[in-house]
Amino acid sequence: MSARVLIAEDEPNLIESLSFILGREGYEVSAVSDGDAVLERLRSDRPHVLILDVMLPKRTGFEVLKLIKLDPTLSGIPVMVLTAKGQERDRKTAEDLGADAFVTKPFSNQDVVDRIKRLAGG
């Protein structure tokens, strides 16, 4: 059974590219585009890994991350934070909130695939 990856991202083009590269690696990819939808989907259809963009409508990625880590039923899902604001401050925030990986845009496809592999395998 292939691992399932949920992408939370509001840029359709990025969803498309991420879906493509991860799909090629054999992952089952689905996507949501706002903060509220992420939490709903996590509960209804629990993925193996979550790719979480920081700048999400309705609820920012950090808020979502915090809620995930507070919720014992969800906190076990590995989260890779994706952000366009490649600032050190954001990386720190993500780490403090318990993110399992942190990737800045623009990202290297290989890098994303490697990290997802590690998170899905671990």
């Binding site: 990025l14 498309e16 991420l18 366009a84």
Partner: protein, 907 residues
């Protein structure tokens, strides 16, 4: 009971002891063994010359008559020594540097070494002190008669016979001899009267011991303990005397505070006899302690006296009559000696002080004005001075004796003391003013003093002779029946305590004249110089004088002069010392300005500043007071004051500047944070399309097996994102230019309504594609505004396309209304979309904010549109607002000022 002979013998023995102490101290001091004599304790004890027989006997009398009022006499000096320590220190420093010989010398020296002022102060001092000396003679005489003639009536504290004038005379004579022997050995102020000071210190101990002894006896032997004493019925009467802390109370405290500074004898002891400024520090606490101890038993003695002695007893003699009543002869004798001590110490010091003033300020000026007789007789002036001082002492005591005889019938001791206090208090304005106020002038001091003392004489001294040489009608009805001039109710000031009344008018007039005349009269150069030297005594040493006065003289003349005043030995020593200081091998120094100033100061110590100046001037061949230098000194002081004011001003400015800087800094911080935000937003906005481009490029690069469709699709995305990136960068640059006002468009009159119509047409296609229903309602046509055609068009297109793009309604509608209102062209763009949350209303105009992305996430823009639109309008003096929401959707309003005049012209 004591016989007169025993009392007399004891008194004489005591006097002999005083002689011995004075003699031994004097001899030791001459040999240079100063030791004990120069200790701060002796200094402090000698200051207690303040406590005369008036306080020794009179304090109990005052307590018996007026309750706690007696305490004021101790309170004033205590306040001065504890709180006004710095004033005394300044006096002592000035006294030492300027070799001040008396209070008259100090005041005259401060006001330009004025002879007339010195004479006036001396006269006031003599007039003020004479009743005081009489008071002492009277107290001793009365106490002698009471103790030596112990009949029942004498126990009332009143001698059976009239006061024995002969007793008073012999006492006066004895004191004169003592004073002449020990008080006029030399004439130099800086050679202290060690013998006298030692004797005074001993007397201070004796009177304290006597008062404590009688106090202890009265309280514990007669009264049976402190509590018992205060339980006596008379205690209540004493404690509830006249109002405490009333005006009279304040006036008395003030008077005694003034007296401790202004009384000639206090000045003599505190300033002239001071050997070391540091002694003041000890006196600062020890003297108040002495006063406390000496006043400790005043109340109990008064209470017990009132309770146990027969009614009608003289309370002024309670201290003596209480032990006598209980047959304590030895104690009574001790008390008598204590009273005797207080009286003699006061008389001795007062007459020394006065004799110095009289000889220096009255005799010397007269001698100096006489045609010069024998020139160059060594020490002739010194001899003359000593003789004049001895005669002065005799005359002063004689005057006191005469006053004693004249007022023998009046019985209150305290009243006479207060009259004297009020008299010398007249010195206060000139003295304090002179020490702290540069503008204080000689004319001011002179007129103030004169007026003050005249009013004092009229309102206080004169009424004290009532019943004697002064008729009661003068007091009660005023001179020639003019009630406004009644001595004790001037200008209708009726019902006021006579002392307070007199103090008010005399000191008030004194102070007013002193200040006003000083303000209106310019200072003479010498006055200005002395003022500066005195006021800034801690900054300018006296040597500064030579900076300002240039004088020359023949050294021989100076030597002769010094010899005449100081005597050969001392003059020689003085000249030799100074020659050595100048580095000369000769015995004679160079008669330069500095030496002349030094010599004048030395002479001033003997004959007073005013006389010294006159004498030196007689041998001076050339004198110029350097006004420039003097002005510079005054300027320096002025500069310091101005500088400090400037500093104060500057520090205020600095504070304001600091405040402004803080505000600016806050603004900068906010701007910096905004800039950071902006950069971070830009970064985000750039990285997002970049991420797509990179990701798809990598897909295309690493996947050779993609279908053509797929490849084309991915390339298309890359292309679109590139365009998006370009647009974004364009917008950022555009906005940045707009905000900095760097865009150089020329505004011109354009038809805004036409531009709006064209913009709507441009967007029509887009609206059709999104199935948005556009309704246009142009109520204004041909409206001319001052704008940039393309930019205005951009504004309208931005707003309309926003409204189309972000409308999520099922039946999206858009309504555009234009009108002219209050001289402004108004365009409202109203949609029926989701509207804008109240929290976002302001935010949407800021950069990178996309209120709509929440509803419809499409890569439509970087969120700079509204910010740019608003910036453009601002450049055209227009505004862009989001109107308060009315129902569904958002309504943006553009407003531009209509260029009416041009419109009129075009028509």
């Amino acid at each position: 009971m004591l016989s007169a002979n025993i009392v007399l013998f004891t008194a004489l023995a005591y006097v002999a002891l005083l002689f011995l102490v004075a003699f031994v101290s004097d001899t030791r001091a001459r040999k240079g063994w100063l030791g004990l004599v120069r200790s701060p304790v002796v200094y402090t004890l000698s200051i207690s010359v303040y406590c005369t027989s008036w306080t020794f006997y009179g304090a109990v009398g005052s307590a018996a008559r007026s309750g706690l009022e007696f305490a004021t006499i101790y309170l004033g000096p205590t306040l001065v020594f504890v709180g006004w320590w710095f004033l005394l220190r300044k006096l002592v420093r000035i006294g030492r540097i300027h070799r001040t010989s008396s209070i008259g010398d100090l005041i005259s020296s401060r006001y330009g070494k004025s002879t007339s002022l010195a004479v006036l102060v001396t006269l006031i001092a003599v007039v003020g002190t004479t009743p005081y000396i009489a008071l002492q003679l009277k107290a001793v005489t009365a106490s002698f008669q009471v103790i030596a003639d112990a009949t029942n009536t004498s126990l009332l504290g009143m001698p059976t016979r009239e006061l024995d004038v002969r007793t008073g005379f012999w006492i006066a004579a004895g004191m004169a001899v003592f004073t002449i022997l020990f008080g006029t050995r030399n004439i130099d102020a800086n050679e202290h009267h060690h013998g006298v000071v030692a004797a005074i210190a001993l007397e201070a101990l004796v009177k304290l011991f006597a008062l404590l002894a009688v106090g202890l006896y009265v309280v514990f032997s007669i009264g049976g303990g402190v509590a018992e004493v205060f339980r006596l019925p008379t205690a209540a009467a004493v404690l509830q005397g006249p109002e405490t802390f009333g005006t009279r109370w304040v006036a008395l405290t003030f008077l005694s505070a003034a007296a401790i500074v202004c009384l000639p004898r206090q000045f003599q002891i505190t300033v002239v006899e001071n050997a070391d400024e540091g002694h003041l520090r000890t006196a600062g606490w020890l003297f108040p302690l002495y006063l406390f101890l000496i006043s400790l038993f005043t109340l109990p003695i008064a209470i017990v006296g009132l309770a146990t002695l027969p009614a009608g007893s003289n309370p002024d003699m309670f201290v003596l009559t209480l032990p006598m009543l209980h047959d304590q002869s030895a104690l009574a004798l001790l008390v008598f000696i204590g009273g005797f001590s207080s009286a003699t110490s006061m008389v001795i010091v007062a007459s020394i002080a006065l004799s110095i003033m009289v000889s220096n300020h009255i005799v010397m000026p007269i001698v100096l004005r006489l045609p010069r007789r024998s020139v160059g007789v060594s020490g002739d002036v010194k001899k003359l001075l000593l003789v004049s001082r001895r005669i002065s002492i005799g005359v002063i005591l004689l005057l006191g004796f005469a006053y004693f005889v004249a007022s023998a019938r009046s019985d209150a001791l305290a009243a006479m003391g207060l009259i004297a206090f009020a008299g010398v208090a007249q010195f206060l304005p000139s003295l304090i003013g002179g020490l702290y106020w540069h503008q204080a002038s000689k004319s001011g001091a002179f007129s103030g003093l004169l007026a003050g003392v005249l009013v004092w004489g009229y309102t206080l001294l004169l009424p004290s002779f009532e019943g004697g040489p002064v008729s009661a009608s003068l007091i009660n009805d005023g001179p020639w029946g003019i009630t406004a001039l009644r001595p004790q109710a001037l200008f209708g000031a009726d019902g006021v305590d006579p002392l307070v009344h007199s103090l008010f008018w005399s000191l008030g007039l004194n102070l007013a004249l002193f200040v006003l005349v000083s303000l209106f009269r310019d200072l003479k150069p010498l006055e200005r110089l002395q003022a500066t030297l005195f006021i800034d005594v801690f900054r300018n040493p006296a040597d500064n004088e030579s900076r300002f006065i240039r004088r020359s003289a023949a050294i021989d003349d100076l030597y002769i002069l010094a010899q005449r005043i100081l005597g050969t030995d001392q003059a020689q020593r003085l000249f030799q010392d100074f020659a050595r200081r100048q580095g000369s091998r000769d015995d004679l120094p160079q008669p330069d300005t500095e030496f002349i100033a030094h010599l004048e100061r030395q002479l001033a110590g003997g004959i007073g500043a005013a006389s010294a100046r006159v004498m030196v001037s007689q041998v001076i061949t050339g004198e110029t007071i350097s006004l420039d230098e003097l002005m510079r000194l005054v300027d320096e002081t002025q500069q310091v004051i101005e500088y400090s004011q400037q500093l104060e001003h500057k520090s205020q400015q600095l504070q304001i500047t600091a405040g402004q800087l803080r505000e600016a800094n806050e603004r900068l911080k906010t701007l910096d944070a905004q800039k950071d935000d902006f950069l971070s937003q830009v970064s985000h906005e750039v990285r997002t399309p970049m991420a797509s481009i990179r990701s798809f490029s990598e897909i295309l690069l690493s996947n050779q097996d993609l279908s053509t469709d797929q490849s084309m699709r991915f390339l298309d995305i890359i292309h679109t994102e590139t365009l998006r990136l370009t647009r974004l960068l364009d917008e950022i640059l555009d906005l940045s230019h707009l905000e900095r006002g760097e865009l150089t468009w020329t505004l011109e009159p354009v038809d805004a309504s036409a531009i709006l119509r064209r913009a709507v047409e441009t967007c029509q296609g887009m609206a059709d594609g999104a199935e948005v229903d556009v309704e246009v309602d142009c109520r204004a046509d041909d409206v001319e505004v001052f704008a940039h055609r393309d930019r205005l068009s951009q504004v309208f297109i931005n707003l309309i396309s926003n409204a189309i793009k972000h409308n999520t309604d099922d039946a999206p509608r858009l309504r555009i209304v234009s009108s002219v209102l209050d001289g402004r062209f108004i365009v409202d763009v109203q949609d029926n979309g989701p509207g804008i949350a109240p929290a976002d209303r302001e935010r949407i105009f800021t950069k990178f904010s996309r209120a709509w992305t929440t509803a419809r996430p499409t890569a439509t823009g970087a969120g700079l549109g509204l910010a740019i639109t608003r910036a453009i309008l601002r450049r055209m003096n227009g505004t862009l607002d989001l109107l308060p929401s009315m129902g569904a959707g958002a309504c943006f309003r553009v407003a531009l000022p209509v260029r009416r005049a041009a419109a009129d012209v075009s028509k």
